[in-house]
């Protein structure tokens, strides 16, 4: 490994350990790493957005391809700068309202097509399947979906039959959370292994190799 590469590894190792030091308690090393991280990310995103959005998606299509309609979203973006002037800051609400309104509208259709309709269709299972196990699974799916939907029913108190069904629903929800929990923890452990491997292999062994 060349010296410049090792220098980068040492910086990486220093910041990794500085962030890990938070596990003990808040300390000046953590604060230093935190501020460097936040500052770098702000600077990085300015550069990223300037290049990938302003230049590539706005300036080049307008000037090179004559896509003049892009001036409208550009103008909507410019309106956000009205927030710097107290008297005109209300103008920025138009851009905000545009994005929020669009989101709600697009989300409604995408959720309907991506989740509600396919999920409804997939739950319409025949209870006379290929065998006992299939029938049992079909029953579990139907009961799970219906009882979970009832748990999220807000218009009546969960008492009586509704209460019992909602309780069944919460059991299904918790079992699914347990599976998610295990899956995510495994992912996090692999991230930790990656960082520890970096410290051991790149930093410690890499440094030792330099002096061999």
């Amino acid at each position: 490994m060349v010296a410049s590469g090792l220098f980068e590894v040492w910086i990486g190792a220093f910041f990794t350990l500085a962030i890990f030091s938070f596990l003990y308690k808040d300390n000046p090393f953590y604060k230093f790493a935190e501020h460097i991280f936040a500052g770098l990310s702000a600077g990085y995103y300015i550069g990223l957005i300037w290049k990938s959005v302003i230049i590539q998606q706005l300036w080049i299509p307008i000037t090179n391809k004559g896509e003049w309609s892009l001036i409208i979203p550009g103008l909507l973006g410019m309106l956000m700068f009205a927030r710097f002037f107290r008297k005109f800051s209300y103008i920025s609400r138009i851009s905000l309202a545009f994005v929020m309104g669009n989101t709600a509208g697009i989300f409604l259709v995408s959720q309907l097509h991506g989740l509600v309709l396919p999920q409804t269709q997939s739950t319409m299972l025949s209870l006379t399947g290929d065998g006992f196990v299939e029938t049992l699974f079909a029953l579990i799916v139907v009961i799970g979906v219906v009882s979970t939907l009832i748990y999220f029913y807000f218009s009546k108190e969960h008492t009586g039959v509704l209460g019992v069904t909602a309780k069944v629903g919460i059991w299904f929800i918790m079992i699914s959370f347990g599976a998610h929990f295990g899956f995510t923890v495994m992912g996090r452990i692999s991230l930790l292994i990656g960082r520890v491997y970096f410290l051991y292999n790149d930093w410690i062994l890499g440094t030792l190799a330099m002096f061999d």
């Binding site: 604060k31 990310s41 097509h113 409804t120 319409m124 219906v146 999220f152």
Partner: protein, 289 residues
Amino acid sequence: MLRITKPLLTATLVVIALLADFQVALSAVPDSAFRTDRINALITIALFSTVILLYTRWARQGKDLFVRKIPGLDAVEEAVGRATEMGKPVLFVPGLQEIDDIETIAAISILGRVAKITATYDTPLMVPVRYPMVLAAGQEVVEQAFIEVGKSDMYNKDIVRYVAGEQFAFTATVNGMMMRDRPAANIYMGAFFAESLLLAETGNAAGSIQIAGTARPEQLPFFIAACDYTLMGEELYAASAYLSHEPLMLGGLKGQDLMKVVIIVVIIMGMLLMTFGVGESFMNWFKAV
């Protein structure tokens, strides 16, 4: 001569925004202008919209629309009360997604209510955000909350502050805020990812009362493990209606409830028809394209 007044300027800009929207919509229209294969979506949206409009109308007319108690939400006032007694701030994190995410919109709506309560009790509020658009929306609702409780002079723009654009830079900074400012209550509402447990565990270590709400099933287990109260999935969306009791939101919530009943009935009908071997055509009605 035409005078450029505030309403005229606003109207002009709204028209421009609508034109932009129309332009985007047109570019998405395929060769056949009417997608008959999506008629099921059209009917569902029409039904859904009608039901919501009806309920909204009834709510506006003063009809009593019952919404069951959501335990995590009652804890919000309790948490702010605790912060007031301790003289410590309340930390509200509106998730880590942009404003074009429906969970962020729900979070911003809840932020309005939380800001109102904190403003009433003069409790300090801290709202770190990850995106400039969320910053703008957050500042708008918090300022509005201060105006509504008659404390506009107490409003400070830095209540809602931009922290960092990178996910873990944001998390590191918010964790630092938790350990240094020791908020009495941490409220996490919106879309969270791998940072959910990092935030909730730090808040727990700092001794704060914690209330979380997200619709991300993969993050909910972490919030349930590390927070005092958790709003799961749709409870997050119901929260704003429950807290505000505004007719528009209540109408939406009641409409969704009715749609859930419709879906349950449809599922059971479909299941029975499929069991008797005559459900294929019925099931095809729900085919998503």
